[in-house]
Amino acid sequence: MTKEEIEHLARLSRIALSPAETVSFQSEITSILDYVSVVNAMAADETPHAPTVPEHINIFRADEVTNEPGSNTEVLLAAMPETHGRFMKVKKILNQND
């Protein structure tokens, strides 16, 4: 894993890394990836598993509102770093020229 690759991962992860973090993650992540690469041998035989093994399943509920409208608004707004009235405030994402 190169320094550039770590920096690329950090950008994808939306984390600003310090130079020291970049250096330590470079060696640590490389050694972890070496270690986990054994999965390729473990999964070399790709035959499907026996159908008797139960899978995780999702059990959905009806898509219905279960609380009074507005009952959580105050407390959720209070948790937001920046608000404007009943709105969450974020930085603009478009330049004025766009």
């Binding site: 770590i6 991962l9 950090a10 994808l12 992860s13 939306r14 984390i15 600003a16 890394l17 310090s18 973090e21 330590s24 993650f25 640590e28 992540i29 050694s31 972890i32 990836l33 270690y35 986990v36 690469s37 054994v38 999965v39 390729n40 473990m42 999964a43 790709e46 598993h49 026996a50 008797t52 093994v53 139960p54 995780h56 399943i57 999702n58 059990i59 959905f60 509920r61 959580n72 407390v75 959720l76 948790a79 937001m80 770093p81 920046e82 969450m88 974020v90 930085k91 603009k92 994402i93």
Partner: protein
């Protein structure tokens, strides 16, 4: 350490004492708060102590016992410590992270609702590795927790604060969460019983998510009977967790001979010699109790840690994307939106969390997804098939819970060597099966006498049966 006897009682002992009028929830909660006040400055098991709320709840519970009400709920007046990644409405839920230092939960987790309805009194929020990532509680943004049995050593993790709270006598029960061993390994290090239920048996609604296909909440207690009691309060389908479901009730008839499988080749590397000697002694005791111990082969299980360190970081990178400095949690200013994200996450997250997010981002990224994530998920499927085969001939798989006793603070500096503490526990989460740990003996290290746990795991959904086996073999026989 002074042994603060009253709260080394079990839940059923407390209940009997309340009913007999020998003590009251008010006295017990006051004693618990006293223990925390005297001891916790050295141990640091708690991030928050709910003194007022617990005292008020105790007074209400005391009144109900005094009124000799019938059908009193099963945990009425029982102090319970809660890991700080479980939401209690109005209280802080930090998950051990600076990111959520000031975050207050806007709702109760389903398990909190159920414990509350059962009469439990929440005594405080326990320390943990940040976002449950770690095996020592040294990765908490609020400083480490120490092992009450040997304060130069770690209590294990990530539910280290929960384990320490019970071990120091601040509560007879603590709730933890377990993604790769985070209930069982600290229980082992602190001489307790710990239980990781079948995936989906207990609702995850209101838990701070780490690895959503792996996470489960469960109890840390002194006896298996207490673990069963707590589990029965928390278990069951919850419409707010689409992966939760009701499993058919399983049971164990006391005295029925069982077959225990030992994955012998799994034990040949990296297990402390004294732990191995205790384990062999434990297997001999199982045989002496009239059961059968056989060797089994679990080749994929033995390499489960590799698959885990792909699947878990992948789910971590996805789950923790929500901490962006916008909707809640720490927000650090920046020139544009991207800078707000990057700065908030840089400042709010610790090194271990960042490491796993980067690793997860890598194994999910285009070009590497097939080589890592997809392969790891395939390994999981094959592991389940391997297990189904083994469970056709054995009732319980038995291993040590962790390869070593509690280590010293700062001793495991390298991430990979820390990860290896979980070799016996992570395959359980990858396959979703239930597992129980209880003490199998003690080993001496320097001046410390350290407990060591044994792990029993059973087929998917056999939670009650496994707990009943634990009651027969640990609570009632002291194997």
């Amino acid at each position: 350490m002074t042994n603060h006897k009253p709260l080394h009682n079990t839940v059923s002992e407390l209940r009997a004492a309340y009913l007999a009028g020998d003590t009251t929830p008010t006295q017990v909660v006051a004693e618990a708060l006293g223990i925390i006040e005297r001891t916790d400055k050295d141990i640091h098991a708690f991030l928050d102590v709910y003194k007022e709320q617990a005292t008020a709840a105790a007074a209400a519970a005391t009144a109900r016992f005094a009124a000799k009400e019938t059908n009193l709920p099963p945990l009425l007046g029982v102090p319970v410590a809660i890991k700080n990644n479980i939401l209690i409405k109005g209280e802080r839920a930090t998950a051990g992270s600076k990111m959520l230092e000031h975050y207050r939960a806007s709702y109760d987790a389903t398990i909190i609702e159920r414990l509350r309805a059962a009469g439990a009194i929440f005594i405080g929020a326990t320390n943990m590795d940040e976002f449950a990532m770690g095996g020592s509680t040294e990765h908490s943004a609020y400083g480490p927790t120490r092992n009450p049995l040997a304060p130069t050593r770690v209590p294990g993790g990530s539910s280290g604060g929960s384990a320490a709270a019970v071990a120091m006598g601040a509560a007879p029960v603590a709730i933890g969460t377990d993604t790769g061993g985070s209930i069982r390994q600290p229980a082992s290090y602190c001489g307790l019983v710990g239980f990781k239920p079948t995936y989906g048996a207990v609702s995850r609604y209101g838990l701070v998510a780490m690895g959503s296909s792996l996470d489960q909440a469960g109890p840390l207690t002194h006896t298996v009977a207490d673990a069963k009691l707590i589990h029965e309060v928390m278990v069951g389908r919850d419409s707010y967790d689409a992966t939760s479901r009701d499993y058919p009730v399983s049971s164990y008839v006391k005295g029925t001979p069982l077959t225990f499988g030992v994955p012998r080749s799994f034990l040949k590397d990296g297990v402390d010699a004294d732990v191995l000697a205790l384990f062999d002694k434990h297997c001999a005791a199982i045989t002496a109790a009239g059961h059968k111990v056989v060797d089994i082969e679990l080749p994929l299980f033995e390499q489960g840690l590799a698959a885990y360190y792909i699947v878990m970081p992948a789910e971590v990178s996805s789950n923790l994307a929500r901490y962006d400095g916008i909707r809640y949690g720490l927000s650090v200013p920046g020139n544009d939106l991207l800078a707000v994200y990057e700065n908030s996450r840089a400042e709010g997250l610790g090194a271990e969390v960042k490491r796993r997010i980067l690793l997860g981002t890598y194994v999910l990224s285009s070009g590497y997804y097939d080589a890592y994530y997809k392969k790891a998920e395939l390994v999981r499927t094959k592991m389940r098939a391997e297990l189904a085969q083994v469970f056709s001939s054995v009732d319980v798989i038995v291993t040590p819970t962790a390869p070593t006793p509690a280590f010293r603070l700062g001793e495991q500096a390298d991430p990979l060597s820390m990860y290896r503490q979980d070799i016996f526990t992570v395959p359980v989460n990858l396959t979703g099966i239930p597992a129980l740990t209880f003490p199998m003996g003690e080993v001496n290290r320097d001046a410390d006498c350290l407990p060591v746990g044994v792990q029993y795991s059973a087929p998917l959904g056999h939670d009650t049966r496994l707990l009943e086996i634990g009651i027969a073999l640990y609570d009632e026989r002291s194997l």
